[in-house]
């Protein structure tokens, strides 16, 4: 008896080994590189959703998170030498132009999945990642720049945020706030670009003209930079951001203790409030930017990270499908809000009830964030990105704001001229 059992067992094992194919279809492995831990969570969720919806074509996503600089370098080296690149990768906007250089970009055109939904999206966000009519990246967010006000301080100074419509109003309100609270109205970045750049974009100006010509030293840009300088040294309502920029540890500590009465940053900065400035919960309100003149643009699309598919991918078709499902579908767009706290590039979901559901962001800032966004959706101008964009951003970070606003070693005209000349070379 025991012997028969043994034989049976052997038979079963042998059969099992001979016909291994009864299990579920084998998952295709895609690799994904990112520099943002949070994006990994977003993509893991997207793949889980995909596998539920497409049991016949399962995907296993292998995500690798690197340091920001290191990931971009590694990707550059891999693409340049033709081996070792992942299927999908996140590329930050200020580095993106590097990957489009040369005659044959090493990225896959996404037109087949982007074109069908483009009319429901903020188109400017796709132009950032385009070359010769081909779209190469899909962003996570619009990055609409807004004003975060500390309501307590405004109340103390008797200022109504809804009545600050122009930058002149803002300066006037700022003077009241400074007088009433002793706190600066706002802070200005001097070692990064998030104050100067959104302001000039909102003004309708840019670093480059549409034809790629450098216009960084245009009178409009000089005016914007002078305005910032005046806010600090003439009107005395602003200070250079402690630590130099709004992502420094000094700044979080400063702001968390109620350092300034307002702050201009893109929507994605919400996450930083929630994570690093917990003590301001319930005190901050979000409003559109003051306009340069009445009826002018009240926002600017800033920052961003484009997800790309590399030319080295062996499963391009599948990667395209996954990308469409994860980031371009309605469900995907909603997830960029619910999982990441970003303003989705598809504006047709902004009115979706999901956008008002309780989460850490609505708890912090209140529920009508997206009503405000819908309000300014047509006031987000495009930005021109050329091959020199990485260098331009680098120089704006290092030289423009720093020399004009912090060191005051050069006037706005001088420093803009100097940098523009360097870009023209």
């Amino acid at each position: 008896m025991r012997r028969i059992t043994a034989w049976l067992l052997i038979l079963i094992v042998a059969l099992a080994m001979a016909f291994p194919g009864y299990a579920a279809p084998k998952a295709t492995t895609l690799t994904f590189w990112t520099f943002q831990e949070l994006h990994k969570g977003f993509w893991d969720d997207a793949v889980a959703t995909w596998n539920k919806a497409h049991p016949a074509q399962p995907i296993a996503l292998k995500t690798e998170v690197y340091n920001y600089d290191e990931m971009h370098n590694k990707l550059l080296v891999a693409l340049q030498s033709g081996v070792g690149a992942p299927d999908l990768a996140d590329i930050e906007i200020s580095k993106f132009a590097n990957y489009l250089k040369g005659k044959t970009p090493q990225l896959v055109s996404l037109n087949s999945i982007v074109k069908p939904v483009l009319s429901k999206c903020i188109k400017a966000r796709f132009d950032n990642y385009a070359k010769n009519g081909q779209y190469y990246g899909v962003d996570y967010h619009v990055g609409a720049t807004v004003m975060y006000y500390n309501k307590e301080y405004l109340d103390k100074a008797g200022v109504d945020a809804n009545k600050i419509l122009t930058w002149d109003d803002y300066v006037a309100a700022g003077k009241k706030v400074v007088a009433a609270t002793g706190k600066p109205m706002t802070t200005v970045e001097v070692t990064e670009q998030w104050t100067f750049y959104p302001l000039l974009s909102q003004y309708g100006s840019d670093i480059f003209a549409k034809n790629g010509k450098v216009i960084l030293d245009s009178p409009a840009n000089v005016k914007v930079l002078t305005f910032l300088k005046d806010m600090i040294y003439k009107d005395k309502i602003a200070i250079p951001a402690p630590g130099g920029y709004h992502h420094s540890e000094e700044y979080w500590a400063f702001m968390n203790k109620g350092g300034a009465a307002s702050l201009m940053m893109p929507m994605w900065y919400m996450g930083r409030f929630v994570q690093y400035m917990p003590d301001l919960k319930g005190k901050m309100i979000i409003r559109p930017l003051p306009a340069w003149k009445k009826g002018g643009n009240r926002s600017a699309g800033m920052g961003g990270t484009g997800t790309v598919i590399t030319a080295q991918s062996k499963n391009k078709a599948l990667a395209l499908k996954l990308m469409a499902a994860a980031k371009l579908s309605k469900e995907g767009a909603i997830k960029t809000w619910t999982l990441l706290g970003f303003d989705p590039i598809r504006w047709d979901v902004w009115s979706d009830p999901a956008m008002k559901a309780d989460n850490q962001y609505t708890n912090y800032f209140g529920k009508d964030i997206f009503n405000m966004l819908t309000d300014i959706k047509d006031e987000i101008g495009p930005t021109v990105i050329t091959e020199k964009y990485p260098l331009a951003i680098d120089l704006i970070k290092k030289n423009v704001s720093f020399k004009a606003l912090k060191e005051q070693s050069a006037t706005p005209e001088q420093v803009l001229k100097e940098v523009a000349d360097e870009l023209r070379k």
């Binding site: 943002q36 690197y66 920001y68 080296v77 030498s81 070792g84 994570q275 690093y276």
Partner: protein, 282 residues
């Protein structure tokens, strides 16, 4: 060697106070790291550097997160770093000591040329060689392997230079004595000279281990998959331009220092005894 009476002179006290002051300077950051590693990351952002012990908010949570977070990948990083450091140190010390010794002791054709090459290579920053080196490692199929990380630095010129400098000062008559006794050249090296070079080995083991344990630029490029990455690269991935994961960063950093300190202490004993041997002999 009867132990001398330890007389205490004011000068000695001053010397020790100077050493103590510098030790405090070098140790302060570790104290800070250790204390912060037990605190929630938010605390650091709110109050900046703060070295107070605050038992009410200190816990082992950050350490727990290290081993459970990201499916325990931290342990993979740890293992990789240990392996790479071990092999790289052993191989590079063994080889570069031989090269340095030969450059110091023998006169042979091409010696100066090789020495100049050592000096030149020492001056080449790795950053500019990365692209061609990557293509090379890909073409010899060593990408994403330990060997790919280790081989290009198997004979580090800095170590060659160090051993050469050390061996120049070795007593040459020992070599001649060895030859008269009928030792082969390798015999002379391994049996007579290597033991004398012990202090140099001690110092270089520590330095190479440290170089290997902390190197970032090359391993990042030569390795590909997440679970093959080394510790510093993994730790760096916890820092993003728009906010760092302080909880894991600090505890991860503290644990990352420990093995290298162990290597140091183990070698320090050999190192010190090597020194004493030298002192008695003369």
């Amino acid at each position: 060697m009867a132990p001398k009476k330890r007389q205490f002179r004011p000068a000695t006290l001053v010397a020790m106070l100077v050493l103590l002051a510098f030790s405090l300077f070098t140790l302060a950051p570790f104290y800070f790291m250790l204390v912060s590693s037990f605190k929630p990351g938010a605390e650091m952002i709110r109050n900046g550097i703060n070295v107070n012990l605050q038992p009410e908010i200190m816990s082992l949570q950050n350490y727990g997160a290290l081993f459970t977070g990201k499916e325990g990948i931290y342990l993979h990083w740890y293992k990789n770093s240990v392996m790479i450091t071990f092999f790289q140190t052993v191989v590079s010390i063994f080889l570069s000591a031989m090269v340095g010794y030969a450059l110091a002791v023998y006169r042979f054709r091409g010696r100066n040329l090789i020495f100049v090459c050592v000096l030149v290579v020492m001056m080449v920053p790795i950053e500019i060689l990365i692209l061609p080196l990557y293509q090379l490692i890909v073409s010899i199929r060593l990408i994403d392997t330990y060997a790919g990380v280790i081989l290009p630095f198997a004979v580090p010129p800095v170590a060659v230079f160090f051993f050469r400098q050390f061996a120049v000062g070795l007593p040459k008559d020992l070599i001649d004595a060895g030859r008269i006794d009928g030792c082969s050249e390798f015999g002379i090296y391994f049996r007579i000279m290597m033991p004398i070079m012990k202090p140099a080995f001690g110092a270089m083991t520590i330095l190479q281990a440290m170089f290997s344990w902390n190197s970032v630029v090359w391993p990042l490029i030569a390795l590909r998959s997440d679970e093959n990455m080394t510790l510093p690269i993994g730790l760096a991935s916890l820092m993003t331009p728009y906010g760092n994961n302080y909880d894991m960063l600090m505890s991860g950093a503290v644990l990352s220092v420990i093995p290298i300190i162990i290597v140091f202490f183990c070698n320090q004993k050999a190192f010190i005894s090597g020194l004493t041997v030298g002192a008695i002999k003369e």
